[in-house]
């Protein structure tokens, strides 16, 4: 279901972008000057000017989105414009280049622009798909919220703390062989880590998963009193729940990282792009 009009639903900017792209292609095709199509023809200058203007306008979003007091419309619409005009840049900039590439600052500008737009496309797809994935991952199927003022993630973290306390207490009542795997789960279950382990979101080497296997294995091989069996059932249940919750938190970390990581490329490269375009323009006009 669709409760809201999202940032991709804005048809106006979609059409503006399509018209800009089609007009660029038409101008490029129709205008065939002597000496070939490149950036130094009339159409080339026009496309270059347009591209430079678009880059400046699109970069302005970074400042504009932080102006919280300004009442100029919804940020959602600005983002729509950003998305669609950014995509149109692929056409205007490529056609501006006239497909002349060499090892120079001009081509560097073009490559940077493609990287910025490319990271932006990644961002669009992340923004369009991940929110739902995050909500499904942290849905009421796994989160049993006990406190109104806690977030789903906080609730899961509290759940793990509770389980850990129970596991720690249970160690006193269990046969000694179980001490090592339970201790392993308590001490070595990692939920974060470095950039790559967060981005992978993998639970393949989860200490709790390992502990669960070990405990089950030990139960299968040993003989225990009824009392011990009862306690072991609880321990297995706790470990299983902890494994599930930990995996869920790791996935959540991965999705949230993906929502942000592209900005680490998009934003610095935009700064580099602005510098390169400045250099490109100065070179073209003063040192031709």
């Amino acid at each position: 279901m669709n409760l809201q009009r999202g940032f991709l639903d804005n048809r106006t900017w979609l059409w503006v972008a399509i018209i800009i792209s089609l007009a660029s292609i038409a101008a490029y095709v129709v205008h065939d000057p002597i000496g070939g199509r490149d950036g130094s023809t009339a159409v080339g200058y026009a496309l270059g000017g347009l591209s430079a203007f678009l880059v400046l306008y699109l970069s302005w979003l970074g400042i504009r989105k932080r102006r919280f007091r300004s009442s100029k419309g919804l940020r959602r619409d600005v983002v729509s414009a950003h998305v669609y005009l950014g995509l149109a840049l692929i056409f205007t900039a490529t056609l501006h280049s006239g497909f002349e590439f060499e090892w120079s600052i001009h081509t560097l500008g073009y490559v940077l622009l493609l990287l910025v737009v490319g990271s932006g496309i990644f961002g669009i797809s992340a923004y369009a798909s991940l929110p739902d994935v995050i909500s499904r991952n942290l849905s009421e199927n796994i989160v049993e919220k006990k406190r109104f003022d806690a977030s789903n993630l906080e609730q899961l973290e509290v759940d793990i703390e509770d389980i850990d306390r129970r596991l720690e207490r249970s160690m006193g009542f269990l046969p000694d062989v179980f001490r090592a795997p339970v201790q392993n789960s308590l001490e070595n279950t990692r939920l974060g880590g470095g950039l790559f382990s967060i981005l992978s979101g993998s639970s393949r080497r989860c200490a709790t998963a390992k502990a669960l296997l070990d405990v089950r294995d030990l139960i299968d091989r040993g003989h225990f009193s009824d009392e011990e069996r009862r306690r072991l059932v609880d321990v297995v249940q706790d470990l299983a729940r902890k494994r599930e919750v930990a995996a869920c938190i790791r996935r959540d970390g991965r999705y949230r990282a993906l929502l942000k990581i592209w900005l680490w490329i998009h934003v610095p490269l935009t700064s580099a792009l602005l510098l390169t375009i400045t250099a490109h323009v100065i070179l073209v006009f003063f040192y031709w």
Binding site: M1, L3, K65, F68, R69, V79, P131, D149
Partner: protein, 768 residues
């Protein structure tokens, strides 16, 4: 003034009641609007400084005080009273002013060995106790405050409640004690009463038999009452059901020459008491003065007085305005202090449709027109009132109200708290209000031509009923025995489709429910449940049917309504399971009582927290929104932020009345907030926080060069100081920000909306 006088005090000190307050207690000087007229200064301050100030002043003025003297009886008559003291001495006086309050007559437990020293009836300083077993008896404000303070000082506290729940106390204190019990800081024994005490135990009678608790101290806070025996012995008269003796407008009792002031006369506020003392002494000295409120009332009445005295106007108001009929002139004066009196020119707008007002208007003179159709108007005549929808039901104004074209109108506007006080204190007023609500509801629903005579039987037999959340008002398939007018709260209507309850509609306060079944004489076609606490007026179905039979014209009106409703119900019953579960979720989370809540579409939310940042940036660096917290279901997330409830829980118990509803519908806090935290505790949605203002955000250069402000992008938690107090901070719907709520504008993906329950349900109906 040089009058010969004697002040007889039972205890060894003056202001005994205030001395017995908890140490350091902050004492308010309400009502703020009332000027103080005495020689003794009194401003809101701590218990200690007020006492010190009073003692100094009493000494300076040379008041003749006789301590440790208790009065037994008063004999004689005006001009020569003989006041007999406990020691047998007699004091002669021409007039007697009794200002003993109620605290001298604390209610006792009435159990054997009560006076063995274990039991105290007050708590001077909770810090006197540490690591002790303390049993607090009582369930009122004093008992709760004491119990909580003791628990905070690491004592093991048990509170003994005679009843099943805490209902007598202020809502703020109730939530305080409930959370302390939940957190196991305090143990509570319900349905229990003390039966005896020993040196270090107290025995309780509980439903599970007798229970003996260890106690290093028992603190009994079970209220205070007017010493009826004493008052009646000296000629005071208690009217039927009254808690206080009767007094005249000059506070004179039924026995000439004896005056009662303060709590004993029904005025527990310190400022009232001080003023009354001044006024009574002036009267006795033969230089009577008007009450401190009279000049203020005179100013209020300026536009309508036309040279008449305040007393004449007061009498006129009481005679003209039906709701005031049951009040004494003293009560009316107190009440009108909070009200506004206005003369409206013919055709002038008094309220506008769609505004979020919650005050009540009374027509003092002239009449008021309420347009209800293209050329239909409804007239509200002199003495009647309007605006009750906003007050009672918390709804926006349902129509305009204009002063009559002929002659205009004089209206009294009564703010919400004062109006609620009136309804609470006067049964007559409450009944009158309900009568009119029923009458107007039936008039708007059926025909404006109906009058009170047609509805006589209905008016005499309706009853006001309460339903708690989830309770069923009417069951699908059951016989239709009654029609309901929802007074406050809201209801969800469900229908059984393929064995499942499917929500098909949501009905807010102000609507008529259950009339359908009466019209077509069929059993109920849907189930109606209270979505939140509901108060409804229940009208007997048979009377309704008889009315229809008598009035043929009504039948056709009703027939038409029935057909319209059947058509719209048909369109809605295509509802599916998912939809009804979402509606259930919203109702369970209190969206039913919201007027403007945030809903986040989790399919669009990229968790960037720009909503929170925008909120903080537009509101002193403190976000009033916690995006991540709060409940979610399917793709709807309700973050923690104010929903601007129809009947705001936060407003229930605000000492300085700092919370108010703006015309735009926001529940906002003004500068008079004292930071007591009652609103934050009362809010069931945790939407109010108490905090001081953080420092100004630093700029990169000033921070780098001079270390001014916080580092960019960082805000240190605010420090509270004397000037930077912690006060209540909550969403104000960005009414002072151009472009509306910053949270909504700042969202890059359009995930966040602000919406009321009706709008949200409509969206869900469309979307699913």
């Amino acid at each position: 003034m040089g009058l010969s006088h004697i002040l007889i005090e039972r205890s060894g000190q003056l202001s005994d009641t205030i001395c017995k307050y908890q140490k350091g207690k902050y004492i308010m000087a309400t009502p703020d609007s009332l000027p103080l007229r005495t020689e003794v200064k009194f401003e809101a301050d701590s218990r200690e400084s007020i006492l010190e100030n009073w003692t100094t002043r009493v000494n300076e003025l040379g008041v003749n005080v006789r301590y440790n003297s208790e009065v037994d009886t008063i004999e004689g008559a005006q001009g020569s009273f003989q006041i007999r003291l406990a020691g047998g001495e007699t004091v002669e006086a021409e007039t007697v002013v009794i200002a003993i309050g109620l605290q001298g007559n604390l209610r006792k437990m009435g159990v054997p060995d009560e006076d063995n020293g274990l039991t105290h009836y007050q708590l001077d300083d909770p810090k006197d106790y540490w690591d002790k077993d303390v049993v607090v008896v009582g369930a009122g404000d004093a008992a709760i405050e004491n119990a909580v303070a003791l628990a905070q000082n690491d004592n093991r506290v048990t509170i003994v409640n005679r009843k099943r729940e805490f209902s007598r106390a202020k809502p703020g204190n109730i939530s305080l004690i409930m959370s302390a019990i939940k957190d196991e800081q305090i143990e509570c024994v319900y349905n229990a009463s003390p039966v005896s005490v020993t040196e270090n135990t107290i025995a309780l009678k509980t439903p599970d038999g007798e229970r003996i608790l260890r106690a290093d101290r028992v603190i009994a806070r079970i209220g205070a009452i007017a010493p009826r025996k004493f008052i009646e012995a000296i000629g005071g008269v208690f009217e039927d059901g009254a808690d206080f003796p009767r007094v005249s407008e000059t506070y004179e009792s039924d026995r000439a020459g004896i005056y009662y002031i303060g709590a004993l006369a029904g005025y527990p506020l310190i400022k009232h008491c001080l003023n009354q003392g001044y006024e009574v002494i002036q009267t006795i000295a033969g230089q009577p003065v008007d009450g401190a409120d009279i000049p203020m009332l005179a100013e209020k009445f300026q536009s309508i007085a036309q040279g008449r005295s305040v007393h004449d106007v007061l009498n006129e108001i009481r005679d003209n305005v039906a709701l005031f009929k049951g009040l004494t002139i003293l009560q009316l004066r107190e009440f009108l202090l909070d009200a506004d009196v206005d003369v409206k020119t013919p055709g002038e707008t008094i309220i506008r449709k769609g505004e979020a007002g919650d005050s009540l208007f009374m027509v003092l003179k002239g009449s008021v027109d309420i347009p209800i159709g293209p050329d239909k108007t409804f007239t509200i005549n002199q003495g009647s009132f309007f605006g009750e929808m906003g007050l009672v039901m918390g709804r926006r104004r349902s129509s305009d109200a204009l002063a009559s074209q002929e002659g205009g109108a004089q209206v009294i506007e009564v703010p919400r708290t004062a109006a609620l006080k009136l309804l609470a204190s006067s049964g007559t007023a409450r009944k009158m209000m309900n009568d009119l609500i029923v009458l107007r509801k039936l008039q708007t629903f059926l025909s404006p031509d109906l009058d009170i005579r047609d509805l006589q039987e209905i008016m005499e037999s309706y009853e006001v009923v309460q339903f708690s959340r989830g309770e069923v008002l009417m069951q699908e398939g059951a016989d239709a025995d009654a029609v309901y007018v929802i007074q406050s709260g809201s209801c969800a209507i469900t229908k059984e489709i393929e064995g499942k309850d499917v929500v098909i509609n949501y009905v807010p306060a102000g609507n008529l429910l259950g009339e359908m079944a009466l019209l077509n004489n069929a059993p109920r076609n849907a189930t109606v449940r209270a979505a939140i606490g509901v108060e409804a007026i229940k009208i007997d179905a048979n009377l309704f049917k008889q009315l229809m039979e008598r009035k043929q014209k009504l039948r056709s009106v009703v027939q038409r309504i029935a057909e319209e409703r059947a058509a719209s119900a048909g369109a809605r019953s295509t509802a599916n399971d998912q939809k009804s579960r979402i509606v259930d979720f919203l109702m369970a989370n209190g969206i039913g009582e919201a007027t403007n809540a945030i809903a986040i579409d989790t399919k669009l939310c990229v968790r960037c927290d720009y909503c929170e940042k925008a909120c903080a940036e537009t509101h002193d660096g403190i976000s009033r929104l916690d995006r991540e917290a709060g409940p979610s279901y399917a793709q709807i997330h309700i973050p923690i932020s104010c929903r601007h409830c129809e009947h705001p829980h936060c407003m229930a118990d605000c000492p300085p009345n700092a919370l108010f509803r703006t015309p735009g519908g926001a529940v906002a806090v003004n500068d008079s907030c004292i930071g007591c935290g009652n609103c934050a505790r009362n809010c069931p949605y945790d939407a109010i926080t108490l905090s001081a203002k953080p420092r100004k955000r630093g700029f990169l250069l000033t921070w780098l060069l001079f270390g001014m402000g916080d580092s960019p992008g960082e805000r240190r938690p605010a420090k509270k100081t004397a000037d930077n107090k912690e006060v209540a901070r909550k969403c104000d719907l960005c009414e002072d920000v151009r472009g509306g709520p910053a949270c909504v504008r700042a969202c890059p993906t359009g995930a966040i909306i602000r919406i009321g329950p009706e709008g949200l349900l409509e969206k869900i109906q469309e979307a699913v």
